[in-house]
Structures are given as C-alpha cells and as structure tokens.
C-alpha cells in the first residue's frame, strides 16, 4: 500500500482550507485581504505581554482551561466563567463544535455563501454540509435550514464574505425552532450595530463565538471565546486540547478584555472609513452591499473579480478573491484599512478603470 491508502478517504479527497496569503516579512504591501484591524492593540496589552515573557513562567504549563481569560471575559461580558470556553483562535472553537456535535453522517447546515472553513471542518468529520442560500432580505433562511434536519447549524453574523448582518430576530427564530445546537459566529461583532450575546439567556442551544483577530488587533496571538450554557461548555472542553491557549496569549487576552475601552476609537475610525470606502467604490461602478464588518464585498464593474484581484496585486495591494462559489467570483473582499491604505486602494482602482 502507499501513503495515500493509509489516509482517511475524507482527508485524501480534501484540498484543505486555504487561508489568505500572508506577505513575507519585510515585503511592502497594502494588506487588505485577511481582515486584520489596521490599528494596533492599546499599550496596556503589549506591556502585559512583555511582562509575561518570564522564563520561570514559560517553562511551566499554562492554566489548562484558561481560567484567567474566562474570568476576564465573564467580567467584560457579564456571563459566568462556567459559560466560557477559550480557543486557540475562534477557528479552534469551530473545530471543537464540529467534533462535539457532528459525527460521520451528521448534517451541518449554514446560510451561505459564508465562511469557507465551515464546509472544510464538516468534511474532516465525515459529516454532510448543507448550505442554504441566505434569504433575499439577508435573513437566516429558517425554514430552509429546518428542512435539512441538521444536527448542527451555524450562522455567521456579520457574515463573511458578504459583510451583511442578518437580524437577531432571525437568529432567535432559528434557535427557537431547531432542536439542535446553533452556533452564532460573531468574529466581526465589534464592527456591528448590535450583537447576539443577549440571546444566550433565552436559548440553551445557542453557542456564540468571538475572535481576538479582528476587532481586538491580536490575530498574531490566536484567541477566541466561546459562550454557551455550562452543560454545553462542559462537552466542548472534552474535545479541547488540554493546554490549547498558551501563557502569553492568556496574558494578552486578559489585558485586552480588561481594556476594551481602548479599542473603541479604532472601531469608530474603521466604521467611518467603511462608509467612505463603500460610497467611493459605488461611485466607481462597484456594487457594494451595506457591511457591518471591517471589510466590504465589492462586485467589480466588469464582473471579472479575478482580473481585478491580479491588477491590484500588481500594484502592491492584496485583497481576497474567491473563485468559488460562482456567485462570489465577480467580487472582491476588501478589508477596511487606515485612511491612507484606503486612498492607495481607491487610487489603484481609478488607475485600473482608466489606465
């Protein structure tokens, strides 16, 4: 037998999830492709990290269940520490959710198009992914999801890569009508008008996920938060890697959660620039939906998203283009950068449109 015969058929058949490209260290690009916050974390966070670089602390294992982070999150979001699971990024939490609730043959449903890691994780489990199109209004297609009888449903809000946010009412309707866990992935919630944490008290099947990689400017640290009923959290902890969040990430997370006020100025600036970018692109013939995230999804004037992606890359600007599914191929997902970054982008757009 050969190596590939030893591999599970589900894995052999997969291409693997493709993360957005990261420029090499020192490469000069305007990086608007992976939705990082253009503004760094406040100095308190960096100071806490430097202090945590202690050799005696680092030779020891970190708190296995990230107790200090759960307690800081409980303070920040008015929940109990027992409701919290901390992930090595919110992708790690998505993995835990899939491993807990979706075995082989299970059905996983989500309104789509949406975050492309979800079908990848479903495939690793040998489960079946059913994508149900978002309602034309942008709402959760509740009846369509119920019709799939899923073992697990996921809703990304604000959604990637479209940037739109369904109403919390439609999330609540899904939680009420579905007899299965509902994951609300709120990676981009810091840029939205409202969030779904308030639904937790009403729906025992709701699991809310947050990320530190977008609003909290700590993509380099890999941190995510999961909020759920304590009974659900207990099950997720069973499949969590024993020491999944390292000591430095825990120190950074606590400092970020204790200093959330220090991020608001950046979020406000990004929301203002999102509005400016949306309008400027519309003026240039792009079709841009209203976004509640820190990126916009812009359908290009001539419909050839791939050509625009390459033309921007030639000009030193990275944005994200999805070949698949076909309904995304005419668009670009553009992270909202600093005003300077966005000006560079808009100048390049002018240049490409009228060379």
């Amino acid at each position: 037998m050969s190596i590939s015969d030893w591999v599970r058929s589900e894995i052999r058949a997969m291409a693997g999830y493709q993360p957005g490209e990261q420029p090499a260290p020192g490469e000069r690009v305007v990086k608007l492709n992976t939705n990082e916050n253009p503004y760094p974390a406040p100095p308190e966070v960096i100071e806490a990290l430097r202090e945590a670089c202690d050799p005696q602390c680092l030779r020891r294992y970190p708190p296995p269940d990230a107790g200090p982070v759960r307690e800081a999150a409980a303070r920040a979001f008015s929940v109990a520490p027992e409701q919290m699971v901390v992930g090595n990024g919110s992708d790690d939490l998505l993995t835990m959710v899939l491993r807990t609730f979706a075995g082989p043959g299970a059905v996983v449903a989500a309104p789509g198009p949406t975050y492309s890691l979800i079908p990848t994780l479903t495939a690793i489990q040998g489960a079946e992914y059913q994508e149900v199109p978002w309602a034309d209004t942008g709402e959760v297609p509740v009846a369509g999801i119920l019709a799939e009888s899923p073992n697990l449903a996921l809703v990304v809000r604000p959604n990637a890569p479209t940037g739109h946010a369904c109403t919390l009412q439609s999330v609540a309707a899904l939680c009420r009508d579905l007899d299965a866990p509902v994951v609300l992935d709120e990676a981009y919630a810091d840029f939205a008008a409202e969030d779904g944490l308030s639904l937790l008290a009403s729906f025992p099947n709701l699991i809310v996920l947050r990320s530190f990689s977008k609003g909290l400017s700590l993509a380099g640290l890999r941190l995510g938060l999961g909020f759920a009923q304590p009974e659900v959290a207990t099950e997720l902890h069973k499949v969590r890697d024993s020491y999944n969040v390292d000591a430095l990430a825990q120190a950074g997370a606590v400092a970020a959660l204790d200093n959330l006020d220090g991020f608001h100025e950046a979020w406000d600036a990004i929301k203002a620039e999102r509005q400016r970018l949306t309008e400027a692109l519309r003026e240039r013939g792009f079709e841009v939906g209203d976004s509640q995230a820190n990126f916009v999804f812009a359908r290009v004037p001539d419909g050839n998203g791939g050509a625009w992606y390459r033309a921007l890359k030639e000009r030193g600007i990275l944005v994200r283009h999805f070949d698949q599914p076909p309904e995304l191929a005419d668009g670009l997902r553009i992270t909202v950068g600093t005003p300077e970054d966005n000006d560079v982008l808009l100048d390049a757009v002018n240049d490409i449109a009228s060379p």
Copy 2:
C-alpha cells in the same frame, strides 16, 4: 430533546483527558507532577519573545504554516522544511495524526501502559483503541501490535509514565512490518541516550513527534514538531488549524532551535539528578525502573500509591498518581526537579516512611 442528546455519543460517554493539576498563581508548591524542565530557557529565547511583542506584528496573522519554525527545525535536525509540521504543542500533532489516519471504526494500537491522551483522542474519533502490553524486556510488542491489524500505531519513547525507552531496533521492526503509519512520540527524547530521527530516512510510514514542553523549557508556549515524509506532512497540514501556532510561539521556537546548545547543561544536570533520585528512592524501598526521561516511575514500598500521593501533597509536593490502569496504581510519576526540589521530596519521603 436535551443538550446531551445533541452531543455525539462518543463524546457524551467520555470523561475527557485530565491534565496534571497546576497550582494557582502564587501558590508555593514543589511541582514534580507535569514533567516540566526545572531550568528556564536561555536568555536568547526570552529576548526573542520580548522583541516579538510588537503591536504591528501582533495585529497580523502569523505565518500560517509556521515557515520560520519549519526552517529553523530543518537547520537544527538536518531535515527538509517540507518534512515538518508544527503543532500548538505535540498534543496538537497527536490530534492531527488521529484525525488524518483514524476514522470511525479504525483500530489504533500502542504498547502500554502509555500516554493516556492517546485513548482519549482515539475515542473522540470513534475509533477503537487496542493497548498491547510492552514486552517484559520493555520492547515494542511487534507481533502483538501486528495481530490487531491497526490503521495507526503509536510508540512513546521514552515512555510515559514508565520512563523506559524501548530500543530503536524494535521501533524499526514495527515500521518495517506494519503497513500503516507509526507515530514515534519523542516528547522526552532530550533526556534519552539516543533518538529515532535517524529512522525517518528508512521508513516512509514513520512520523516522529517532539515537544518544546520538556527539554526546551517552553511548556507555557505550546509547541511541538512533527517530522514525516513530505507526502505525509501534506495530509497532516490539511487537518491542521490554519493558524495553529501564534506569532510569539513561532519567535520563541526559532530562538530555541537556533540555541539548542544553551539547553545541554540543564539536560546533563537533570540526567545526573535522575540517577541520584532513582538510587535514593531504591534505598528507601521504592521499586524504580531505569528512566530515560525527566521523571521516574516509582512503585511505593507499601503499594498504596494514592496514599503516598496525598501524603506528599499535604507536605506541599505535587507528584502524579494514576488510579488507572490497576498496574500503575502502586506507583508515582515523579518529575526530576532541581537538586533542592529533589532534596525536599526525599526528606518528605523519609518523613512519610518514618513519621
């Protein structure tokens, strides 16, 4: 339906892996229960970490495949970067291996008793764990493992919690005769007389795992290395979380790999203390096997391991005791600490034996 009905039956039935207890910050204990290195990493590593605490770097995602770490490991161990997979701890690599090679109904075999995370990860996959007793000589029971026709075999060398190291010849025999991947978990290799990396060139089914949590004094950072054929590494990368190793851990790993010489003094000191501890415990009536790890497995004089564990804990000394399986219940797994730590332990042993 209730919450537990939504959970996969394999997860519902599990207790979850129990990591060794970690004292609360500030708690004063002699901590000899989770096999950390008692000596900190060299100053170059800590300096590299402090420098990496850069806000502009931390707001960005890290290199997704830990390229700088793979390159540093390739330099340090004379392998190709394409042979390397970096984990968020070597437990993360064990998870990747199980998810890649062991689906529901697969058979996973290992000589035992051994690392108790292996059956837990097997259960999460819905696969079947077959533990085959180590040969009386301490060798891999090759025929016994072949008789289980496993889809995956794992050998821990030096083994936990016994501390003994099978010969590399018996690992090679298993690789040669088994038509399935063989994982050689070398978390404790830095304390052993020899290691198995030299076998990689001969056996395409061999995967070697290393940890930074023991010899490299970085348990707080969560880092592991996987070595395999490039074709095997490609499959493991598919189930790896896209950004599983954070930017600070990557910086620390590179500095540690570039400064391996800085660890040798600590390893030599630990090996000398291991010998002293082994002999001192034997003189006190314990049955202690020869260890090649940074811990000893010591069967207590009266056979009541749990009572000794509690008596030591009352005296501020944490060691590890395993209730299960029964053949381990009369023993304590004691990490080799500093000479001072070990003296405290031995004094306590005297005190417990002759109060």
